[in-house]
Symmetry: C2
Subunit: 133 residues, 2 copies
Amino acid sequence: MPSFSEEQALVADANVAFYRAVESLDFERLQSVWLHSDDVKCIHPGWELMSGWEQVMRSWSLIFENTARIRFELSDVQVVVNGGIGWVECLERIYDGESVVGEAIATNLFQQNPDGRWLMLHHHASPFARRLT
Amino acid sequence: MPSFSEEQALVADANVAFYRAVESLDFERLQSVWLHSDDVKCIHPGWELMSGWEQVMRSWSLIFENTARIRFELSDVQVVVNGGIGWVECLERIYDGESVVGEAIATNLFQQNPDGRWLMLHHHASPFARRLT
């Protein structure tokens, strides 16, 4: 793990909380880690842009209804905090139960709430190929 | 075009300036639209994360050396400005001369320089499929 400042560590925790919420397939828990705003946006791997609270949440609801089990292993987590925005890059190794079903690279943005909590503003995950060189 | 605030319009202009710089295949021009910082990151469609000024610029240099012609048509441009960070989503239709060679969805982050210019902090472009439903 890289050495994070206290602020970066809070953003990294919010990032982990997002993935744990997805793993839980608990829709209310997932909602609680997102900023309740029409500024939120989400790009699932290979999907079009989902924009605004309603559309983003509908997409997650659809995913949860069609997912029996999902687990994420995160690596290469990089965190920048800048002007009330926390910006995370990470690699997702995605498991369907026991097997790896895909790898994605994610850009996740978080905004700090007045109560101090960092909430998700944006999730962009896309498939990637490891380069051989 | 959506109706943008003055600040959003400046960020949208910086976004267009980035794509025009890529189209120019002029490496110095491309460098001038990025923030000169080790916080910069870039994900080309299907590539691994490029992190830091040197690695990001090396990736563009490689692309420029291997590209004869490239044009972008942008659509669905959405801009949020928040705490000194400008955050753009857009669809890229990518042309190799006359023909469409691909479509991508991009998350672009910009930071406002002390001199007022918005410079690119992050570019994440990924292939996407239009949903039929």
